[in-house]
Subunit: 467 residues, 2 copies
């Protein structure tokens, strides 16, 4: 038995430690690749227990892997070096809306969707809407700086965080930022921690920005004969003075997969479709909609469809949410990427994806938040076919290269985690990564908080196989 197990248990009052194999197994994976058994799982029930776990981990030099709902697409919560999984999903749920301040204070354990439900009761909105909002915890969203379709108009998770309460890697409970909209008091630790993938702090509370809920929304679906035209139409719209709240792209393979999975009458003969949502005052929407329609016609769109009711619009957005499960039916293994390019480079990136797909003879489908340059190319393959998986690994590497050559980045919203760590230097250079490592070392001298993420270990390579 590990010598830290007893003191770990002894310091908990409400929380508990799990060590049975069946329990450890259910904490060994997330929504990305790889399985790693931890030595223990701690389900903490209050902030002081988080402090206890972290201090003890420093004393015994045991790695700690913070975890929310485990929906991460880049390996954030994977206990790659064993040690302790710190399960934060059992902390008491807190969603404390302050309508006069347009803020909400939450515990990391609440589901992101529930925050929005509470906000809407007061006519407000929590803008970030990652596709996993109905399962993922806000804690995970904060750690990964999650995006979502509405990111186009409203930004990502980080843009909506005013302050945090955190436990530092050495076990100090501190606050960063605060409850005010403007704050320039010292370094912006809040925005440093959000998106640091659990490597710099354990978030135990957060104050988030709310905003007035837009009075009306309008949905449009536009289909295209050519993928490239869809990309150009997106660019044209965004430079026309209209800023839609969402602009989602689906290529033909995605459309067909969704129709096979849950038929709702999407145009399966189109090369691509774009789903658009406009939001704002009713009067303005009518005009914006006409403007977008005119652009689409000018661009030679195949068809513009405007749903006649809210229910019909909801069906379209539901179809968009079904893309991920639907394409997962095509082949057993789904490699989901999120390399992101500057907006004007979307058509070029689509061309590059086509070339990569042909070169490696792989099933590649693409969908995503094309309006902000954040496409999700997915490779559909079979993990049991090592030869195919090797081609997939090469294809992923070329996607990263293409994105960076086009002025883009490795990850728009999924995070680096384990999978993209080997490519960090390719984008940032040695000196750039070194400045990040310095922060990690200064904050976490014993490297106990989520080690093995973001920074590649010696000789680490992309491996898309569970070995």
């Amino acid at each position: 038995m590990n010598d830290w197990l007893k003191p770990l248990q002894d310091g908990l009052i409400e929380g508990r430690v799990l060590t049975k194999n069946a329990d450890l197994y259910s904490y060994s994976f997330d929504a990305s690749f790889g399985e790693y058994l931890p030595e223990a799982v701690v389900q903490v029930k209050n902030k002081q227990e988080v402090v206890h776990v972290i201090r003890l981990a420093n004393q015994y030099k045991v790695p700690v892997y913070p975890r929310g709902a485990g929906t991460c697409l880049s390996g954030g919560p994977l206990p790659v070096h064993g040690g302790i999984v710190l399960d934060l999903s059992k902390l008491p749920a807190k969603i404390d809306v302050s309508p006069g301040d347009l803020t909400v204070t939450v515990s990391p354990s609440v589901r992101t969707q529930d925050i929005n439900i509470e906000a809407e009761k007061r006519g407000l909105m929590y803008a970030p809407d990652p596709s996993s909002a109905h399962v993922a915890t806000i804690g995970g969203n904060l750690a990964e700086n999650s995006g979502g379709p509405r990111g186009l108009k409203y930004g990502v998770t980080k843009d909506h965080v005013l302050g945090l309460e955190i436990v530092t890697p050495e076990g100090e409970l501190i606050r960063t930022g605060g409850q005010t909209i403007k704050n320039v008091t010292g370094y912006d630790l809040t925005k440093l921690i959000v998106g640091s993938e659990g490597t710099l702090a354990v978030i135990v509370e957060a104050t988030l920005k709310l905003m007035p809920k837009p009075p009306a929304v309008k949905t449009m679906m536009v289909s295209f004969h050519k993928v490239r035209t869809a990309g150009e139409a997106i660019s044209r719209t965004l430079t026309s003075g209209v800023l839609p709240s969402k602009m989602e792209f689906m290529d033909q393979a995605c459309v067909r997969a969704v129709e096979q999975f849950q038929p709702i009458g999407l145009p399966v003969d189109a090369a691509a479709i774009i789903l658009i949502e406009l939001d704002g005052p009713e009067e303005a929407l009518r005009i914006e909609q006409e403007k977008v329609e005119a652009i689409m016609e000018e661009m030679g769109a195949k068809e513009v469809i405007i749903p006649e009711s809210d229910e019909e619009a909801a069906k379209l957005w539901h179809a968009r949410k079904q893309v991920s499960p639907a394409i997962a039916k095509i082949k057993p293994t789904k490699v989901s990427e999120d390399a992101t390019v500057p907006r004007s480079k979307i058509p070029d990136f689509m061309d590059r994806l086509q070339t990569i797909k042909e070169k490696y003879d792989l099933e590649v489908v693409a969908f995503g938040h094309a309006g902000d340059g954040n496409l999700h190319p997915n490779i559909l393959c079979d993990q049991r076919d090592p030869e195919e998986m090797k081609r997939a690994e090469k294809a992923v590497e070329e996607m990263f290269e293409a994105a960076i050559e086009l002025g883009g980045t490795l990850s728009g919203e999924h995070g680096i985690g384990t999978m993209k760590a080997p490519f960090m230097e390719m984008e940032l250079g040695d000196a750039g990564v070194d400045m990040m490592r310095r922060i990690k070392r200064a904050w976490d001298p014993h490297n106990i908080l989520n080690p093995g993420k973001i920074f590649a270990e010696k000789g680490q390579k992309l491996v898309l196989r569970n070995e």
Copy 2:
């Protein structure tokens, strides 16, 4: 002569070194308190010269003080330990708009207003609008994370920065972030550096977000019988579903000072006025304006004035810009604060200011971006009266305490610099400040970049006197 002076000069090709007393003097102050003579000023003309200066400074352990236009209100560019002032305002001007990406890439030396002028030529807008935009450089705005009236709706400088090119404190030229809207590749060094007041990096280029210019704007001026009612009316508006682009507060003393300085017919008998700007599509503005009018009447506003032409509206906004110079005429010394509170606490903070003013028998006027809780209480005093200045120092300290007690922060947009450094622990605690210091030490082991700012030195206190 300093032994580093010759090698400093030798490494420059286009730039030059100034050492004459008259030159050094003109770099010894900014728009805050204190005068400090540097040993040399370097006017660099390209990025490589910045690298040269920083590397040499590390070699000789000389402090380097980066400087833009010197409009800082918190002492950011002051060479408090002598050494070298690094004048970045002579770098070649670059404003490179990429309309398809909705971005602009700029050199630090350009005036913020000029970026907006270039953006507007393409129907776009650079949202941050600090009051000094017509003089300040974007480099200074980035270093200080400047705010401005439009921050209410659009956020501050940091919210509009996608990527930076920087020289690290040890002289490495690296890029952070990029050109994409979404980016979660590693730690967010961009948002860490913006607002770090020149202590973590010298910014030599930046890529900023642009947005479609709102098609229309509408101005309203509302006057009140009571200051507290004005505060409450702001809160009520912000929870009504309307989000104005600006909501600026001026108390009676400010209104009167402006009228004395440049009469335009402001209501000098009102206890306070609020200037409101709504922006968006014309059709929506009409409805929003009616909504705001109804709220103001319900709150018992004295009068709601809607300017009849754009020229009249422009006059009102010009009057708002005149507050600072106008109140400076009241007494020779102006102590400008920017402690910020959560929105709902604005009326309470106004009450606290009144109490402090009476307790210390000082002339205190208040104006500012009340819509986001960012008031600027100004103490008007006379530096030649040491007894009054001591009362002012105490009053400032109590303003900070009041803001923090109300859940606020020391600084909403001016920065910590030299003046607020002694109060950092009051807001953040020792452990919070320690986490910031660790980053500084890890990045700048020889403490050469802007030392004496943000972090208080032993025994440092607020002193509002040039000694």
